[in-house]
Amino acid sequence: MKHAARKINASKNNKIKESASYHVFSGVTNLVFLLFSISTVLPMILTIIVSFTDERAIMRNGYSFFPEKWSTMAYQLVMDQDWVFRAYGVTIFVTVAGTFLCVVFSSLCAYAIAQPTLKYRNVLALFLFIPVVFNAGVVPWYLIVTRTLHLKNTIFALIFPIIVQPFWVFLLRNYFKTIPPALTEAAEIDGAGKVYTFFKIVLPISKPIVATVALFAALMYWNDYVTALWLVDKQELWPLQYMLYKINSLITFLTKGGAASLGGINTVVPNESFIMVVFVVAMGPIVLVYPFVQKYFVKGIVVGAVKG
C-alpha cells in the first residue's frame, strides 16, 4: 500500500513527459508480464479442456484447446472410483491434523524459547537448529522411521516426519519476543497459568504470524508427495499428490509403447482424459482457495523474507 502510494506521488512529481523510450520499455514489460501471467493459467485451462475431451480425439490429435469431440465420460468414470475420494480424504485429514499440530507444537515451543527468563532457551534453540546444518541423510532416517518407529504405512508417517520446521519456530519466536511482557505479566498476576496465558492472550494477538505459518504448513502438507514416496505403499493411505504421481507414471508407461497393448481403438479406455479429470479435481481446492489466501502468503514472505 505504502509502496503504491509512493508510486503515485512520484508520478505526480514527475509531471515531465515520459520519454518515448519509456513507452517502449513500458509496453515490452507489460507484454512480458501479461504473457507470463497467461502462461500460469493456460496449463490449467488445457487440463480442464482435455478432461472433457473424447479419448479417441486425444489419441488422434494430441492435447488440444479446441477438441474435435467433447465428452464427459471420464468424469462419470472418476465418480465411480472410490480410491480417488479415499486419497482426497487422506490428504484432507493429513493437512488438517498436520497443520493443527504443527502450529500448536511450534508456537508452544517458540513461546517458551522467546521468554528471556528461560535460562536454557538458547540451548534449546541450538538443539532445533543443528539438524538444519547437518543431517544424517535419508537412508538412516528411513531405517529409523520404518524399523525403529514402525511408521511405515501408517497415517502418522505422513504427518510427523515433516512436522518440525525450525525456521517457522524461529519466525514465531521472533514475533513473540516483540509482545510487551506487561501484557502477559498482568494475566499471570491475576493467577492465570502460563498455558492459559499463551492460548488466551498470546495466540490471539499473534494471529497474523500464526496464520502465516498455518498457511505455509497447510500448503506443505497438501502438496507433499515425497514423504509418501518413501513411507507409504498401501493404497488406502495414498495421499492425493502421491496418487497423482502414481497415475502420472502409469500414463507415461502406457504412452511409451504401452498404448499398443491396450488393443484396438474399439476398446478405448479413457486413460488420458481420466487422468486429466483426477488432476482437475486435485487442482480445484488450490485454485478456489488461492485468491483468498494469496495476500497472506505475500505478507508471510516479506516477514520471513530471507530466513523463511
Binding site: S39, L108, P131, V133, V138, P140, K194, V302
Partner: protein
C-alpha cells in the same frame, strides 16, 4: 572439630552437585515453559537425532538381519565403490549444475522482473500481474510435472504438435536427455519467480524515498535512478539470497525433479541428482536388494559437503551482514 569436618564434607558434595542442582532448579522453576517445548523437541529428536548414529552404516557391509551394530565393518569400501563409479561424477555434476543454473537465472529473472514491475504504472494491473505470477508456486510438484507432460509428451504434447504443424521433425523429448537441464531449470524459474520477485519488490519498497527524490531533483532520468539507486540498494539482498542458495547447492530439488523425470530411465544421464540416485538404490527399483551401506555412504558424502558449504556461506554472510547470518 567434628562438626566443622562434617560441614566441610557437605560443602564438597554440594560443590560437585552444584551444576546439576542448578539445572534441576531451573527446570523445576520454569517447568511449564520447558514442558511446552517438549513436543517439538521430542519430534526433532526422533526424526533428526535418532538417525544420526546410523551414519556408521556407511562404513559397514550392512546386513538387515544383523542390524546396524551387528554388521561387519568394511572401512571405506562403500565410499571407494561410489567414488570409482560413473554415478559419482554424474550425480555430483547434475546436482550442482542444475542448482547453479536455478540460482543464476532465478536471481537474474527475479531481480529484472522486480525492477521492471516497480517501473511500470497502474496499481490495479500490477496487482493482477502479481496474483497470476504467484500461482505456480502453489501447484504441487506432481501437478507441475503433468504440465510439463502437456508440453513435451511425444505423441500428444503441444510442442510436438507445433513442430509437426510447421513441418518439422517431431522430437522424442523423453528419450533425449540433452534438453532436460534447460527444461528443468525453466520449470523451476516458472514455478518460483513469482515468489522470489516478492522478496525483491519488498526490498525495493524498503529503499529510502528521500534518495529517490534527491535523485529526481538532481535531474536523474529513470535509467540512471535504476542503475545508481535501485540496483545498488538491492545488492545486499541479492548477495545474501545467493549465498544462502549456494549453501544449499549440494541438495537437489528432489520433489520437483523426480515428479517430472522420475519415470523416465532414459533421462538419467542429465537429470539424476544425488537424492534420486539414493532413492533408487534404497528402493532398488533396478532389481536386487537395497544396498543400505552404500547409499548411506552417498548420503554422508552429501551431508558432509553440504555441511561445509553451509558453514562457508554462512561465514561469508556474517562477514557481509551479521544480521542475516544463520548463526
Amino acid at each position: 572439630m567434628k562438626k566443622v569436618k562434617k560441614k566441610n564434607q557437605e560443602h564438597r558434595t554440594y560443590r560437585i552437585a552444584v551444576p546439576f542442582i542448578n539445572v534441576g532448579k531451573e527446570l523445576w522453576k520454569n517447568k511449564v515453559l520447558y514442558l511446552m517445548t517438549v513436543p517439538i523437541l521430542l519430534l526433532c529428536f526422533l526424526f533428526s537425532y535418532l538417525p544420526m548414529p546410523g551414519i556408521v552404516m556407511a562404513f559397514k557391509d550392512f546386513d538387515l538381519r544383523e542390524g546396524i551394530w551387528g554388521s561387519s565393518w568394511n572401512g571405506i569400501e562403500n565410499f571407494k565403490r561410489f567414488f570409482e563409479s560413473t554415478s559419482f561424477t554424474r550425480v555430483t555434476f547434475n546436482t550442482i549444475w542444475i542448482n547453479f543454473n536455478n540460482i543464476l537465472w532465478g536471481t537474474v529473472l527475479a531481480v529484472v522482473f522486480a525492477i521492471c514491475f516497480n517501473e511500470i504504472k497502474g496499481a490495479r494491473r500490477k496487482r493482477i500481474y502479481q496474483i497470476f505470477m504467484f500461482i505456480p508456486y502453489f501447484f504441487s510438484a506432481v501437478i507441475v510435472g503433468r504440465f510439463v507432460d502437456l508440453l513435451f509428451s511425444t505423441n500428444t504434447g503441444i510442442i510436438n504438435q507445433v513442430i509437426g504443424a510447421m513441418g518439422g521433425q517431431e522430437i522424442e523429448w523423453f528419450s533425449s536427455p540433452q534438453y532436460w537441464v534447460k527444461i528443468l531449470v525453466g520449470t523451476n524459474l516458472w514455478k518460483n519467480v513469482g515468489y522470489n520477485m516478492i522478496i525483491y519488490i519488498a526490498a525495493i519498497s524498503g529503499i529510502d524515498e528521500e534518495m529517490m527524490e534527491a535523485a529526481c531533483i538532481d535531474g536523474a532520468n529513470r535509467l540512471q535512478k535504476v542503475w545508481h539507486i535501485l540496483l545498488p540498494n538491492l545488492v545486499p539482498t541479492i548477495i545474501i539470497m545467493t549465498l544462502m542458495a549456494i549453501g544449499r547447492i549440494f541438495y537437489g530439488d528432489f520433489q520437483l525433479i523426480y515428479a517430472i523425470t522420475g519415470g523416465h530411465g532414459q533421462l538419467i544421464p542429465t537429470t539424476d541428482i544425488i537424492e534420486s540416485f539414493v532413492y533408487r538404490s534404497v528402493m532398488a527399483s533396478s532389481g536386487g536388494l537395497p544396498d543400505y551401506g552404500f547409499s548411506t555412504a552417498v548420503c554422508l558424502y552429501q551431508s558432509f559437503i553440504g555441511f561445509v558449504l553451509v558453514l562457508g556461506s554462512n561465514l561469508l554472510v556474517k562477514k557481509y551482514d551479521p544480521d542475516y547470518a544463520l548463526f
